[in-house]
């Protein structure tokens, strides 16, 4: 057991810090509703391009595909530093983290040559079409169908909760291609050009007021068979690879994100007063804030432990489920703690730039998106603890 960064890890971090210092752009002015504008999209594309040119895109990809063979620990250093320096969100996150690695495993040589370089350079932005209105936790029950017609698949159906769809050039789409087979065995993965006729989208407004997600509609969309990823009806295997990667990915960036919230809370509690005394001197508040600090630190340790395991064993396993439960439920508790400590004024939109309200509301979605807390617990029960499948 040695938790010091190795020389390689340290060098990676120092290079990165130096580069970020010179290259992180001014933050986008945070006004609710601007996330859907073309200007914002361009701002994010420019940043993705800059990352690529600096050699910081796809760092975990193999060298053969233009990456740096970075370890999960180095990748996590990158994610953490990006958030720490308030860098823009990464438009390429789905392409780089989920679609690219999946194409590397399941794609043909032509697909690899065609898609991978453009993901890395940020020319192509990707989204993933998994969830449907009637296929949430039970993703394999999806009903968007594709019917073969000559050299094309013809797709009809609807997807929901699609992040980045408004900016995307391509979509990794799960469709049903066999209606007779058991639900896991009739799914195929398609790579769909978002500019294809028949694709339309509608932003989905969340309770927090912003619209990071979309509904996607497919009406007689023709997808060439050449853009099928992997074998017909073997798409569930592809999906599982992606879901595992998704859970393993988020860890370190969520730490830094919530850490900023806790640091902000400490600062406010020291500054704001009640009955003439700083909030931070109240013993009950001290207990609550200390609990937040402790939970967050234990989360950091859990992430480091998972990353060090991942660096040795390579394949993400069900431990990602534990991290997902931990950070999302902690995020809710800490958002609540902040409002308890800061009191009545924290409900105002003008207080702390609306951050208190935002976190309190947005965190409700965190325990649902990317697999609900309940599904994650059942994954742990079944795959880690070896209990019988219950659904």
């Amino acid at each position: 057991m040695d938790l010091n960064l190795t020389a390689d890890e340290k060098a990676f971090r120092d290079d990165l810090r130096a580069w970020l210092k010179e290259n992180v752009p001014e933050p986008w002015p945070a006004t609710l509703g601007t996330e859907q504008t073309p200007e914002y999209a361009q701002y994010l594309r420019d940043w993705q391009r800059k990352l690529f040119e600096g050699g910081w895109a796809g760092v975990s990809w193999p060298k053969a595909y233009g990456g740096r063979d970075a370890t999960p620990i180095q990748q996590s250093i990158l994610l953490a530093e990006l958030i720490r320096t308030h860098a823009p969100e990464q438009l390429g996150v789905i392409g780089e983290g989920l679609v690219g690695p999946t194409i590397m495993v399941a794609g043909t040589d032509e697909q690899k040559a065609r898609f991978l370089p453009r993901i890395l350079s940020g020319e192509d932005v990707w989204c993933q079409g998994f969830s449907e209105p009637n296929a949430g936790s039970d993703v394999a029950a999806l009903g968007t169908k594709a019917v073969r017609d000559g050299d094309d698949w013809v797709v009809n159906g609807q997807k929901i909760w699609t992040s980045f769809a408004q900016f995307s050039d391509w979509c990794l789409l799960l469709v049903r291609t066999d209606f007779e087979a058991p639900k896991h065995k009739g799914i195929t993965t398609l790579l769909v050009d978002m500019k294809s006729p028949g694709v339309s989208l509608r932003p989905l407004r969340q309770m927090s007021g912003d619209s990071g997600f979309n509904e996607l509609f497919f009406t007689d969309v023709r997808v060439p068979v050449a853009n099928q990823l992997g074998e017909t009806n073997n798409g569930w295997r592809v999906a599982i690879t992606i879901l595992m990667n998704e859970r393993a990915n988020l860890g370190s960036s969520m730490f830094v994100f919530i850490d900023q919230a806790v640091k902000g809370l400490i600062e406010q509690a020291r500054t704001l007063t009640k009955n003439g005394k700083p909030l931070s001197e109240d013993p009950v508040n001290r207990q609550k804030i200390a609990q937040a600090i402790a939970e967050l630190e234990v989360y950091r340790l859990n992430v480091d432990r998972a990353l060090s395991g991942l660096t040795k064993n390579q394949t993400p396993g069900p431990e990602g489920s534990m991290l997902k439960i931990y950070w999302s439920e902690m995020y809710q508790r800490i958002a609540q703690t902040a409002m308890e400590v800061l009191g009545d004024v924290s409900q105002l939109a003008g207080f702390d730039n609306g951050n208190c309200i935002y976190r309190y509301l947005r965190s409700r979605g965190s325990t649902i998106e990317g697999g609900t807390s309940e599904i994650q617990r059942l994954i742990i029960a079944e795959r880690v603890l070896g209990l019988p499948k219950s659904y």
Partner: protein, 374 residues
Amino acid sequence: MDFDLSKPQKLLQQSVRDFCQRECPAERVRELMETDTAIDDVLWQGIADQGWIGLHLAEEYDGLGLGLVELAVVAEELGRACVPGPFLSTTWAATLLSLSGSSALAEKHLPQLIEGAGKGTVAFLEEGAGWCLSQPQVTATVSGSQVTLNGKKHLVTDAGVADLMIVAARGEQGLCLVLADPSSDGVTVEATPGIDSTRKLAQVTFADATVPAANILAQGAEAESALKRSRQVGIVVVCAEMVGSSQWMLDTTVEYAKTRKQFDQLIGSFQAIQLKCADMFLQTESSRAAAYYAAWALTEGTEDAERAVSIAKSYCSDAARFVGGTAVQAHGGIGFTWEHGLHLYYKRNKANEFLFGDATYHREQIARLTIDAA
């Protein structure tokens, strides 16, 4: 960065686990907890012969010179088997002895403790005072070559079997750590049965108890820093013990859920039980990360070591109680019986929650170190 135990650490873990299974199975734990002292001299000598007492102490005192991660590895396995006896008490006393100014006393007594020839404890808590390092009420009055102790300590672990007791007293220079012999004149040790029968507690009264002035280990600031550090080491032991204990309760519950049937189905196939098991897993693993990080940080002397120790103690205390309660609930009626082993762990963990300060105490330490320092 490598969070995993190293090969030698894993070998140590396996050998402690094997030893506990062989030398201290559940039936033996039960036999010992029914005795007045909960000690088995053969078992104790066995633990000492393995080199596990003072394994983190310098080789000049017959220790193994290993780190606190190794100490945590041993404590986790002892906790998993709920091994009775003065491991924690002796480790605390030995650590304090090694940190105090007097190398003569350390040279004289440490090898005995480490070899298993003697057992130690520290008398710290007093009625009406908690774990803060405030001025003790027990007094140490020096007169010529003698020190006279007066006053009362309570909740002293394993005082009934200790050959050597370090008393936190008030002297002329503030805190004064004095080495006493519990069997000497003027010292009365009275058993005070508590919730955990596997680690006995006692009240210790000093009525003009005299010891040679040479038995003063340390005074003033030096005594405070030695006591603080030794308590941090004690916290590592207690936290690791709670991790082992939580692991046992989780494993036992999962095992039971795979065999127990109700409504003609394994209860482990019910989501109500599965969700509970997943929660126990999450908190057990998180406790492990917190406890081992504290051990590592303290060994390395990192800047955040003190905070890491308080975070571990607050997190592990709450988690062990949660895991224990959930384990009993998931078992149903059998989990509530005397005959089932769960209550031994549930009780040990309650006592462990208090040792060296409970979660609330340590959250205040976290607040002091983080909020006030911001």
